[in-house]
């Protein structure tokens, strides 16, 4: 019964909440009020915008040594997660069957495991840092902790089901994924999408002034 719900109605519900939620939020953000800057630009705003979307992936030399933990653990987590989300064999098959109708070359199993290990270690380090560092402790909100823990639980249940031999474990994983999808549009996880307009706005602002930010 529960399995039927998780593979059926709850899946569709969570998917709907996620897709409608994300689009709604993005539209609300991008089409909110915006005043035109009436000053005369020195440089190109659009060039600055596009440039900044990509340049912020690399920290400035001047600050890099102080933020090593965030950068290294951050990339370990994000790249590991991205790799296993889209290139782990069970996920490739799932995406093929449920979304795209076509698949692509998956990672070898050891690649999947390695990506997961990077993702786990990265996330554990980041979440511990959030609690142990006085700056992050002061500024962190409940949302940040829920997002981290929920993501960890999704990854963990996935790991528990690795053998792909027990439908209860697969269902548990799918259920936690559905929880994450429902939580996503109303949380800081939206940064997955909003970082693009955010970086673009600031890049444009600096670009008008002729500064590479």
């Amino acid at each position: 019964m529960i399995g039927y719900l998780i593979d059926g109605p709850l899946w569709y519900f969570s998917l709907a909440v996620f897709s409608i939620g994300v689009v709604w939020q993005l539209v609300a953000i991008i089409f909110a009020s915006r005043k035109t800057d009436l000053s005369v630009a020195r440089g190109s705003a659009s060039r600055g915008a596009i440039r900044n979307v990509f340049s912020r992936f690399i920290p400035h030399r001047e600050i890099a040594p102080q933020i090593r933990v965030q950068v290294v653990a951050g990339y370990m987590f994000h790249l590991g997660l991205f790799a296993l989300l889209f290139f782990a064999a069970p996920h490739v098959i799932f995406l093929e069957e449920n979304f795209f109708g076509f698949g692509w070359t998956a990672m070898p199993h050891w690649g999947f495991i390695l990506a997961a290990q990077f993702a786990f270690l990265g996330l554990i380090i980041l979440w511990l840092r959030r609690m142990l560092n006085s700056v992050s402790r002061l500024i962190s909100t409940l949302d940040d902790h829920v997002a981290a823990i929920l993501t960890f639980v999704v990854m963990l249940t996935g790991c528990l089901a690795l053998l792909e031999g027990f439908h209860e474990l697969r269902l548990l994983h799918r259920f936690t994924v559905e929880l994450l999808l429902i939580y996503f549009p109303f949380s800081c996880l939206m940064h997955t999408f909003t970082f693009i307009p955010s970086r673009a706005f600031t890049g444009a602002w600096f670009g008008r002034r002729g500064i590479d930010s």
Binding site: V69, Q117, F120, L128, R129, L132, N133, S134, A161, L163
Partner: protein
């Protein structure tokens, strides 16, 4: 060809005999065994200690071994030792510590806490410690499921639920193992220098670390007890990790004998670490006044330093590293300074 087949059939028939014979008492000395093919069978069973590698059509690791005598030894050892005793060891450690707490109580600090603090562990060091701790705890729990799950958990959950739990534990234990190794190596890199044994450590040991009787025991940044725990973690941890790696990747020519030995070493090491880590957790939490702060904010009370690590305390005073309670609160972001308070008063 026909003779060989006959011989094989004979051996197989003898297998039945041998299984039955295993329950019978060994023949009294002086008696001549009348079981036919006993010599062949003795060689196959490696009773004289010689491992005969036979020839088979399929070529690979251990394919020439008809019966793995070691395997039986290993299985018995496993059931009779770690599986049987691990829960006892762990529970015993917990009980002893409980008893110790009830009798000796929390080891306090003369004069109590002062509020003046000194930085002991940086953000990164604390992150490392807790990463290792969390990963270790996870591995310990999943490892215990794999070790004692059958006798202890099947009666509780039933076979099908347990098989799911065991699968989940095995997959996650194997995945998190290398994470433990990486964390361990980072701990090695970060803390090795401060854990090198030095003058004064033996004295500390002889005085029982201050637990035996009263009076101060001199210690450096890390006392001898802490150093020994550190090296135990590193060395046993490395043994566990390497044996774990051997176990998790059987594609490098390891035979059953190596796997059996690795498993025993892995499990014994794990039990040692689990037992001693309970003591570590006790000491770092309720066992000693002022210790837990070290791994939370990274700061420790100067009185705690004087009490337990006086040689380091001297350094702290020399380098003027002791901060006031107000400064400590400010660095934690929990102070509202004057201007803010005034503004708040004005606003009221």
């Amino acid at each position: 060809m026909r003779i060989q087949t006959l011989l094989l059939l004979l051996c197989l028939a003898l297998l039945q005999f041998q299984a039955y014979a295993a329950d019978r008492p060994p023949p009294a000395p002086g008696m001549v065994s009348t079981v036919p093919g006993a010599d062949l069978w003795r060689e196959v069973r490696q009773r004289d200690g010689m491992i005969i590698d036979g020839i088979s059509q399929v070529k690979g690791v251990d394919t020439g071994v008809l019966i793995n005598a070691q395997g039986d030894k290993w299985a018995r050892f496993r059931i009779n030792n770690p599986v049987k005793h691990a829960p006892t060891v762990i529970i015993a450690v917990v009980l002893v510590l409980l008893l110790f707490y009830v009798i000796r109580g929390k080891v306090g600090i003369e004069g109590g806490l002062s509020g003046r603090m000194v930085l002991r562990f940086t953000d990164f060091e604390r992150i490392l410690h807790w990463t290792l701790a969390i990963v270790f705890l996870f591995l310990a729990i999943t490892g215990l499921v794999l070790l004692v799950g059958r006798p202890l958990l099947i009666p509780l959950f039933g076979k099908s639920a347990f098989s799911m739990l065991a699968s989940a534990s095995k997959e996650s234990h194997n995945l998190f193992g290398p994470i433990f190794l990486v964390s361990l190596l980072m701990m090695l890199y970060s803390f090795a220098r401060r854990n090198i044994y030095e003058k004064g450590d033996l004295t500390w040991l002889l005085k029982g670390g201050g637990f035996i009787g009263k009076g101060h025991v001199s210690g450096g940044f890390f006392n001898m007890g802490e150093k020994s725990w550190y090296w135990l973690v590193i060395l046993v941890g490395l043994v566990i990790s390497i044996s774990g790696l051997i176990l998790v990747s059987p594609n490098f020519g390891q035979g059953r004998v190596i796997m059996g030995i690795s498993h025993v070493v892995h499990v014994l090491g794990a039990i040692i670490l689990m037992a001693v880590s309970i003591g570590h957790m006790y000491m770092g939490s309720i066992g000693t006044e002022g210790s837990s702060e070290a791994m939370k904010s990274g700061y420790v009370d100067i009185n705690w330093v004087e009490a337990h690590h006086d040689r380091w305390a001297k350094e702290c005073h020399q380098k003027d590293q002791v901060i006031s309670a107000e400064e400590f609160a400010r660095l934690q972001g929990t102070s509202l300074d004057r201007a803010n308070v005034e503004a708040t008063e004005q606003a009221k």
